[in-house]
Symmetry: C2
Subunit: 359 residues, 2 copies
């Protein structure tokens, strides 16, 4: 285990709100943050010690960045693997590039999970309309057709209800390396935020229920109203993924929960802190952001327990105009990401409300 002294600098690839909240947690623990991202105006640099504005494939800029920091992490999973590998030759990068390779490709991700005896939706990789049509005969309609790579918040995917939909859906996709996923008739989507330290200790927060609106996370409710067996299985599976891949840092695993077997299927893995873990800032002894910093800096993990109930609501687009009204509630924990321009679908902030445990 390589422990960093406070005062060291954490390099973060990406300058969004997740990078911003990592920087705030790092600051509490005495670490400096250096943000690397192409965007000139980004939420994270406002609270970071240093910023490098460059493209993720700018080898010179990456090299200087690596020299200026003590450890590197990232706030989104669509970082080119080559970027992480370039940086890894100079400084430790957590999480490692193996999880990036897996999570950037929906096909590899599902194969990896099934190899661990973790259920997913039925799937098949396809590279032509013809392959898609024959895969759909096996998987059956309705199904979802998605690009294998770089999907985020519902972009790059379409539901196909019948064979006649396939050609149009296919032509709308930006790639011909795609995947067909069987449509899962689930009761609830949950996620488990887990963290693994450099010496292999794993801690998970209680699973939370996630509700979406327009394919974007709307609300997370902690704890999710699921039975103990589902809870235990979800946490066991997240732990297995973390250990298998020698993961360091915070990882998020999204699951579909059904009343019929298999009751639990992994939807996707996000190798990073996650929107569905924002409630941990106020609710838990150590937040997902602090845990991530602890893990990548080689420090002991904090506790993840939570006795009450919490609800995190995203403030998307115009929702942020409720800002002052939310502050007037007095005990709502309002987070504003410092983004100038309000745009439809843009995550502008979130609010977490804590409630006492109902016995």
């Amino acid at each position: 285990m390589r422990t960093l002294e406070p005062g060291s600098t954490i390099g973060v690839l990406g300058g969004g709100q997740l990078g911003r909240m990592i920087a705030l947690a790092a600051a509490q623990l005495g670490f400096k943050t250096h943000i690397f991202c192409p965007e000139l105006d980004n939420p994270a640099q406002q609270v970071a010690d240093q910023v490098t504005h460059a493209e993720y494939d700018d080898i010179d800029a990456l090299s200087k960045f690596a020299n200026a920091v003590d450890v590197v992490t990232y706030e989104f999973e669509n970082i080119p693997v080559s970027t992480v590998e370039t940086l890894s030759s100079k400084k430790p990068v957590f999480p490692n590039s193996r999880i990036l390779k897996v999570s950037q490709d929906r096909l590899q991700e599902k194969m990896f999970l099934n190899d661990l005896a973790i259920d997913t939706a039925p799937f098949k990789g396809v590279s032509s309309v013809e392959e898609a049509l024959s895969a759909l005969e096996v998987i059956s309609y309705p199904a979802v057709i998605k690009t294998r790579r770089f999907g985020y918040d519902g972009k790059g995917q379409a539901i196909v209800k019948r064979a006649e939909d396939v050609l149009a859906a296919w032509n709308n996709l930006t790639s011909d390396q795609n995947i067909i996923e069987g449509f899962i008739d689930f009761d609830m989507e949950i996620s488990v935020i887990g963290v693994r330290s450099q010496d292999g200790v794993v801690k998970c927060y209680c699973p939370v229920e996630n509700k979406h609106k327009n394919h974007i996370l709307d609300i997370s409710i902690a704890p999710a109203a699921i039975d103990e067996e589902i809870k235990k299985t979800a946490i066991d599976q997240a732990t297995k993924i973390l250990n298998t891949i020698d993961y360091v840092g915070v990882m998020t695993v999204e699951f579909f929960v059904s009343s019929h077997a298999p009751k639990l299927r992994v939807n996707e893995i996000a190798p990073r802190v996650h929107n569905s873990g924002h409630w941990t800032i106020e609710a838990c002894p150590s937040s997902q952001f602090e845990q991530h910093v602890r893990a990548i800096c080689g420090l002991p993990l904090g506790e993840t327990d939570f006795k009450g109930q919490a609800q995190m609501t995203n403030l998307i687009g115009d929702d942020i105009l409720q800002y002052e009204k939310l502050l007037a509630e007095g005990r709502a924990n309002v987070h504003h990401y410092g983004k100038k321009e309000i745009r439809a679908g843009r995550k502008m902030g979130h609010v977490t409300r804590l409630y006492d445990h109902k016995d």
Copy 2:
């Protein structure tokens, strides 16, 4: 009330840990911070959007700073009043300069408090050894002799036990504008952190007990173990001070508690967020830092209630070497101020531990 939009910039005079924690709270609410301080290497700028390195009497730098920010505040009370007045001509400054004038002068402060029918130690302003000796005959020994201005953490003061001590004590002081304060035989020192909004709403946290070591705050315990009447009087007096002076932002009032009348005497006023309020970060719906930001930005205040028990311990000098051990506790809230050099007596960080309420 002048409400600032999130995205606005808060100018902070001073770059210490209090400025740092104001900046972190400002960031959560979507505000940028611009630090103004002479020190090139300071804890606050690591998490601030902008920094100006200049002396507090540099009119040009102050003018540029005022143009670059939307509101100004300060993290310590020894800012020259002329600095605040220069800035006030361009941008709102909270708290106002009136409280600075009062709190920078121990004599004026005590006269101001007595005028409000708030008890203090007996005192007398003195400007020569002779005046000191005659004042001490009235106030009686032991007493404390202090400079009227710019005292902090026990600097610029001495206990005099008998007339023979006075000359040596006097010659050690850096000024001849001094004050004699009667020695108060108190049972406990407490403080009340209060906040007042631009529209005159006042909220106070529960009084906390403060224990010192080597004249530096060591531990704050919330809530202080005092009876309801003392608690109510302390909060009433803090509220009266806030209202009298049309104060905006967080103010701290330190009291001595005795078993004999007057049971409560104000020791001093700090027109700022305070070390004895750090426990509010984790323990209360809205921390002292968030409240200060809300108040100066013209936003509604948050709630201040607290049901459990909290203990904040300062990490002074070498105490910070316990950093990793404290993190290993798992539920200790460790704060490291990002200061490079460990020096004896230097506030390097703090740790807050929360406990359930003992019924």
